[in-house]
Every structure is written in structure tokens, then in C-alpha cells.
Point group: C2
Chain length 470, copies 2
């Protein structure tokens, strides 16, 4: 039966006496660019053209002194992206994708140059809809938007996906599969490079306003950090100028999954554009203007990663320096999260000598982190300095004030000060009154928000200043 | 205008002269069980009835000696679940949910008692379809199945979701939201308990057969472990009797998210039912039958968690004990992953004294783990013994032999032996020949699978035995 079945295909008509495929049939196989691996439809990198990019420095914020001005990082990024649309209008090779969040993620300036794409009837009451819009966000589906972007990149074009941090988890699996796909492509010489999958996580865990517990999940960083090191990159810019520098780098890059965790609310700006470029290019560094240990051994390292942890760390430093002027404090900010991993594990990782030069081998490190504290434990697991105390999101929070979210998760300035003092045995009893004062502040905070529904004036009005000893 | 608009509602008809709602309207508010929080439709725990459960011990495997018999864990679980259907037939309060995977996850025995639910026309060629089936798997959508199960639990009933481990990531966000929901419910006294969300991850990362890299992602454990400790539970039963014991515990529990990572392929069985119940009740323990350090300090701890790591660890132990009979080896198996976390962080966590009694304070620990090695780093971060070397999935693998998957990720027996020897400085040079032998085996392995497409006979035929010194 098997023989009859196979013979029914008439192999004698398909193969010659040596069992070779006959020339007429062989000739049917496509040649040149029609071969499957050479076909631009299947190997879109062949069609990839660089974006014409404006100079991101032109969109920077003037920062006369750290914390002297406020701005909204995502609003400023919107201006930069608007002009990328302008410069590449003819090329038709750049788009934004997002589940109806371009406005709520504060990228509104792009609508000065383009619109939301809409294929259906247009009404006078529509807001920024057009048949040739380049913003794909008229569709509240993370699946659809991420899938659109993947297809767009695979056909040799450029773009990014902007989403609420908590809801990017909806496409965990899709992003993981794309990362796996890139890892394998990197092993295939005939595969042309494509633009990176850029994911902007705004409306992050610390910025929920009227949203609550359901909108809090910083775990996408954990998810992506497990993927192959040669593919994944994670950035947490602490201010507008840093965001512009990081975004410029990501949008020009190839074959990566870049995750950018960003801030959309008004907040103090720390670095000048010149400082920001230096800081982001290194990915991690000492902020000398906030430190007072120059040329000496620090007593303690105050490290931070993410916009809210950076704000609270700097506020904690002003409290510590006022109360304990003799204390030598080193402030370190992390933009490129993978710098924390050993250089043997990630191409961005610091060598142990570099890491120790920053964090010391034994001094206490109070690390305020944007996400789950366990991710910092993971990344720093093999480092020599085990005297590290990480504070991050611990699944606490509801619809409350911005500062109360931090208090509930113990990454607020008062809790950071307490933990710093508790990890400085050399202070002996001199720290006890400061700890008491911090505990009193935390009670005061709870009473105040209960009565007024907004944060303490001293929290709302806090500004960075080089403290004078009291 | 505001006044006119508000007055248009005629407040004078709705409120009395004191501004109080008039009695007729007040009377419209529902009372008793019709109040929103008391309504069984909204508070389904009120309808929850215990399942009638057969004794899981009756479904156990006879294990005359460790590794003496082979069985398929999920096939045996299917027999237990089949009889849960039988005992609760009238109650109509138990279902299986899965994306067309009940068969491929080897739960086929349940079809001796029930069918797949199907509301459409029935054909003679249908396989196990019926209008009253209790297996919801005629729909290849993780979203639909997980959502169905959540709704089913919220209405006071029982069930579980069985999925491929890699594709449960499709519902990361849904599971996280349910965990958040449970955490908040636990703070509301009027909320009645509901059955736990039970997730069975079979067809796991190490068992891909004809599937490849796309089907490999053990990160769901990382995802859930970040959620609130009072809600999440993670179990990795090493054999059939342990799976039966863990499943029985999970299906009876309330208000948890239980994750069970299971094996579906034929593999050696280690524990008798009596041993399994003791082991799973403790969640972690020394396997004395595999160890040779009784009453002494071990030279090394060989720890394992998950079915494949357990097999490779035991195989490595036989090699080590044959080659280095004087070496004192302690074998520890972990079923309940959260035992590794400090008792201060998770209710299941071991106290430091308990942990040190098992793992010692300073002896090298070679830990073979089912998932990403970073999760073990996370969970054990605060433990005293830092001499731990974890091996897990590192995003390597394709369509290859089962053993080659382990070799590519360095959790195979030969690599574990090498790492054990390299972490025993006291061996001096006596270990060098053993390392050489292991390297030779790894070359032999690659040559053999390249030629024959299956694993080395000594790997396929390996059986646990108490080694005699050579």
C-alpha cells in the first residue's frame, strides 16, 4: 500500500535514472532576490534606511542648577519625536504605536506634525485623526500595537511602542518571542540587521494619580532582564536631558530590545545636556554635586535608579547632610541597569574593579530602585560588596498621594534616612534622634494626607540645595 | 448655568428640608443578600462547597527502590482528577481549563469520566466532545481559558488551568491582576474565601521534543514570585507521588495563586507515597538514600529543584561517589520553592537556623534549578552561605535531544560534576582527571547525537544505584 501510494506521485516523471530532480523542475526554484532568505519581504533589513535625525541636544532643558527648574520628560521628548516625523516625512519609515496612550503618555507635541492613523470616515469632532496619520493608537490593544510594531520593524522600518508600565505585561510573551527571534537571527550571517524593538514604559508604577494597585507592576524589567544579554537593554533616565540622550541612542540602534522607563509628570531637572550626555554614555556615575566625599572614602553610598527613587534619594541626602554634616556621602545614579551586572555576563556590565571604584568593597549602600528590589539583588549577586540594602516596589499601594505611594513601599526620603543611619554603626547613639525625627515625620505625613488629601508642604515644595550644617 | 443644570434634577423632590434623601427613595436600596457586597453573585465564596476528594494516596506509584520504576506524572494525576470528577458529578462545581492541551499535557484519563465541553453540533468523528463536558479546552486561547477559570472560581467553584510552561506567559498580566485582587480581598472581612487559582505548567522548558527555542521560558516562576507572599505558592514536584501530594494540597486550598511545574514524560520515580507525603509536607529535605554524609559534615551539598535537575543531580552524585568515594555528599531536593526565602519574607520560608542545618553555613552548594538561576539568587540572597553555585536555563536550546538541552544550559550531570570538583579546593589535583573525563564525555555526547540523533546509551539507560567505589 505504501509503495502504491508513493508511486501514485509518478516519481519516474520527476527524477532521472540517477534519482536527480529533472532540470525543468529544478528551474522552477526562484533565484536571486526571489530566494526565500534573500527576499526583501522576508529579510526586511535589506530595506532598512537610517532615519534622518535632528540633534537631540536642541530639545534639551536649560538647567542652571540641579533641581532649579521643573519639566515633564515625556512632553519634551514629544518635541524631539515630532521633528523626527518632520525630517522623515517623505521616507514613510517611522511610526509610534500605543494603545490609545499617546496623549496620556504626554507625547502630544507629535500631533503638531502628524495624526492618528484612521481608515474609516472622518468627523469634525475627531481629535488628530487622518487617513495618513503615522501614530497607530486608535486601538486599545497592547497585542495589536506590539504586533504592528514588530511587523513594521521586520519590514525594515523604525518606531517605538509607548505603554503604561503595568500593562506592557499584557505582551510579555510577544516581547520575549521577539527577543528570542533576534538572538537566533544574530547567528545567521545572511540576515540583515533591523531596527531595535523600542518599548517606552511611561505612566510608571510611582505615577498613578487616580489609578491604583491594578496599575502598579514594574516587573517587565525582571522579565526582559532574563533574556539573552546580547539582545536586551534597560534604561531608566532620571530627567529630561537624560531621556533625550537615551532615546536618541535607542532609536538609532539595531537588533536590540530596548526598554525605557520614563516619567511623564512635572518634576525637578537635575543635569545639563552636557552632563546628561556624559552620564548616559557611561550609564552609571557619581553625582559629585550631590556628594561630599570627593577625594575621601565615603561613609555611605546612596544609590538610585529611576525618576522617583532619584528624587527621594536626593531629598534623603539633604536631610542626612544637614543633620550629620561630618558624614561622607557618595551619590550614585544608574541609567543603564545592566551596568550592575558583571562584564562577564552582559556587554554593558562593569568590571569588578570599576564597580568597586564606584560602590566600594564594604561601605553600606542604600539603593533606591524603581522596580522590585529583587532585581538589584539578582544583578549585583556576584559583586564583592554585600553591604547593600535595596528598597523598591513591594506590592503596596492604592489610590493615594504620590508621596504616600513611596511611604507605603518604604522608598521615601524619611525611610531612606532611617535605613542609612541604621547601617552606620559608627554613629553609635548620635543617629537615634534623627531616626526618631524621621518616625515623627512619617506619622505627620499620614495625619496630613488624611486631613488634606495632598502631601505635606515640605514634601511638595522640597528643592535640592547644598545643605548647610545645622 | 451650573445652578440651572443642577436644579434641573429637581432636588426639592429628592431631598427633605434637611437635605436628607426622602424615605421612598431610600427604600429603593436593596437589603440583605441583595446588597452588593452580600450578593452571592458578587461574593461567590458564599456559594463555595468543599470538593469531595478521593484519597490521593490510592493513585500513587509503587516504588520498591528509588529509580526502580518509570512513570508519567501527569498520566497518573489524570487518574486522580478523573475520580474527582466522578465524586463531584452532581455538584457541578469542578472543571479543567486549558488551551487544547489536556491530551498533550497527558491528562487523558479524565476523558474516561467526562468530556470536552462543546455547545455546537456534534459529529461522530469528534473526540471527547459533549454538551455537558467539564473540560474547557476546545479553544486554543490562554486568555479565554484563564479568564474562564477566574470567573468560575469567583462564583464559588473549583478548577485548574493546565498550560505549556512557555505559553502561560501569555496571561502574565491576568494572573498578576488576580493575585492583586486576592491580596486586597484578604483585607476585606466581608469577602468570603474562594478556591485558589491553580496553574499547572506542564510541557516544561526541559521537555520540548519536536518543539524548540520558542517553547522555552521558565520565567513564570519569577513573575509570580514577585507578587505578595501571602498569596503566591510555587511547587516543583520531582515525581508522581510528590505531584499527587502537591496537587491534593493545592486543590483544597483557598485564596492562593498556586503554580505547579510538572513533568509529563516517562521518567524514574524516586519516592514511595509515604516518603512523598513527608517530603512535600516539609517542602524541602535531605534525601538520605542518595547522600553519604549521615552524621557527619558534608564536603558538598548537591541541591536540586524540578524534575530534570533532580535527575541530573542524582546522576552526577553517582559519578562523584564512584570516582571520589571518600567525598561526603548531601543531596537536598526542593519541592516548595518559597522554602528558600527567609521566614521573615514568606510564610513558607525557612528560618535561618533551619536553612543552615540543611545547606550548612559555608560548604559549597551545587544547585541545579528548573528555571533561571537568578531566581535562586533572589530567594537565597539573605542567607549566610554564599558558597552557592546555581545552574538553570540560560536561554540556550533548540530542537535537539533531551540531554543536549541540559548540556547546552550546563545543568547536565557531567557539567554538574565538573562544577562540584572545581568548588572543592581540598581535592587539590585529585579532581583533575575526573574533570578531564567529564570534558571527554561532553565531546562524546556531541559526536554521538550528531551521528545517531539520540542520546548516548549510558544517558538513556542510566539508573540510580548506590555506587560502589572504583
Amino acid at each position: 500500500m505504501l509503495r502504491d501510494w508513493l508511486m501514485s506521485y509518478h516519481p519516474e516523471e520527476l527524477f532521472d535514472e540517477n534519482g536527480k530532480l529533472i532540470p525543468e523542475l529544478k528551474a522552477l526554484a526562484p533565484v536571486g532576490d526571489r530566494k526565500i532568505g534573500s527576499n526583501p519581504h522576508a529579510n526586511g533589513g535589506k530595506l532598512l534606511r537610517d532615519l534622518r535625525m535632528p540633534d537631540f541636544r536642541d530639545y534639551g532643558i536649560e538647567v542652571p542648577a540641579p533641581g532649579a527648574v521643573e519639566a515633564q520628560d515625556m512632553v519634551e521628548l514629544g518635541g524631539f519625536v515630532r521633528d523626527i516625523f518632520k525630517l522623515n516625512e517623505d521616507a514613510h519609515n517611522f511610526r509610534i504605536f500605543g494603545p490609545d496612550e499617546t496623549m496620556s503618555n504626554r507625547l502630544g507635541k507629535v500631533f503638531e506634525e502628524t495624526n492618528r492613523d484612521w481608515n474609516n470616515e472622518l468627523l469634525d469632532t475627531d481629535e488628530f485623526l487622518a487617513h495618513d496619520g503615522r501614530v497607530m493608537d486608535s486601538f486599545l490593544s497592547e497585542h495589536m500595537c506590539e504586533g504592528w510594531l514588530e511587523g513594521y520593524l521586520l519590514t525594515g522600518r523604525h518606531g517605538f511602542f509607548a505603554s503604561y508600565e503595568a500593562f506592557i505585561r499584557v505582551v510579555d510573551s510577544m516581547c520575549a518571542q521577539h527577543a528570542k527571534w533576534l538572538k537566533v537571527c544574530n547567528q545567521l550571517p545572511w540576515r540583515q540587521s533591523i531596527a531595535s524593538l523600542n518599548l517606552i514604559l511611561s505612566s510608571n508604577v510611582w505615577q498613578q494619580d487616580h489609578n491604583g494597585f491594578t496599575h502598579q507592576d514594574p516587573g517587565f524589567l525582571d522579565h526582559i532582564s532574563n533574556k539573552k544579554a546580547d539582545v536586551v537593554r534597560l534604561y531608566l533616565p532620571p530627567d529630561t536631558n537624560c531621556l533625550l540622550s537615551c532615546f536618541d541612542h535607542c532609536i538609532r540602534s539595531r537588533n536590540y530590545v530596548n526598554v525605557l522607563v520614563t516619567s511623564k509628570h512635572p518634576r525637578p531637572q537635575w543635569l545639563t545636556m552636557e552632563q546628561a550626555v556624559k552620564h548616559c554614555t557611561q550609564g552609571i556615575g557619581i553625582w559629585e554635586w550631590a556628594s561630599n566625599d570627593a577625594g575621601e572614602e565615603p561613609d555611605i553610598v546612596m544609590a538610585c535608579c529611576g525618576d522617583t527613587p532619584t528624587l527621594e534619594t536626593l531629598a534623603a541626602v539633604t536631610i542626612l547632610r544637614e543633620a550629620l554634616p561630618e558624614l561622607k556621602i557618595r551619590v550614585i545614579n544608574v541609567v543603564d541597569l545592566m551596568k550592575l551586572q558583571p562584564s562577564t555576563m552582559h556587554p554593558h556590565g562593569l568590571a569588578d574593579a570599576e564597580y568597586n571604584a564606584l560602590f566600594t568593597k564594604d561601605k553600606p549602600i542604600i539603593f533606591a530602585f524603581h522596580g522590585y528590589h529583587t532585581l538589584i539583588h539578582e544583578l549585583t549577586y556576584c559583586r564583592e560588596n554585600r553591604n547593600i540594602h535595596v528598597f523598591g516596589y513591594k506590592e503596596e499601594g492604592t489610590i493615594t498621594t504620590p508621596f504616600d505611594m513611596r511611604v507605603q513601599n518604604e522608598i521615601d526620603r524619611f525611610s531612606l534616612v532611617k535605613n542609612a543611619v541604621q547601617n552606620l554603626p559608627q554613629l553609635g547613639n548620635r543617629g537615634s534622634y534623627l531616626i526618631q525625627k524621621m518616625n515623627d515625620k512619617l506619622v505627620e505625613h499620614k495625619q496630613y494626607i488624611h486631613e488634606y488629601g495632598i502631601d505635606l508642604p515640605e514634601v511638595r515644595d522640597w528643592k535640592w540645595h547644598v545643605p548647610e550644617a545645622k
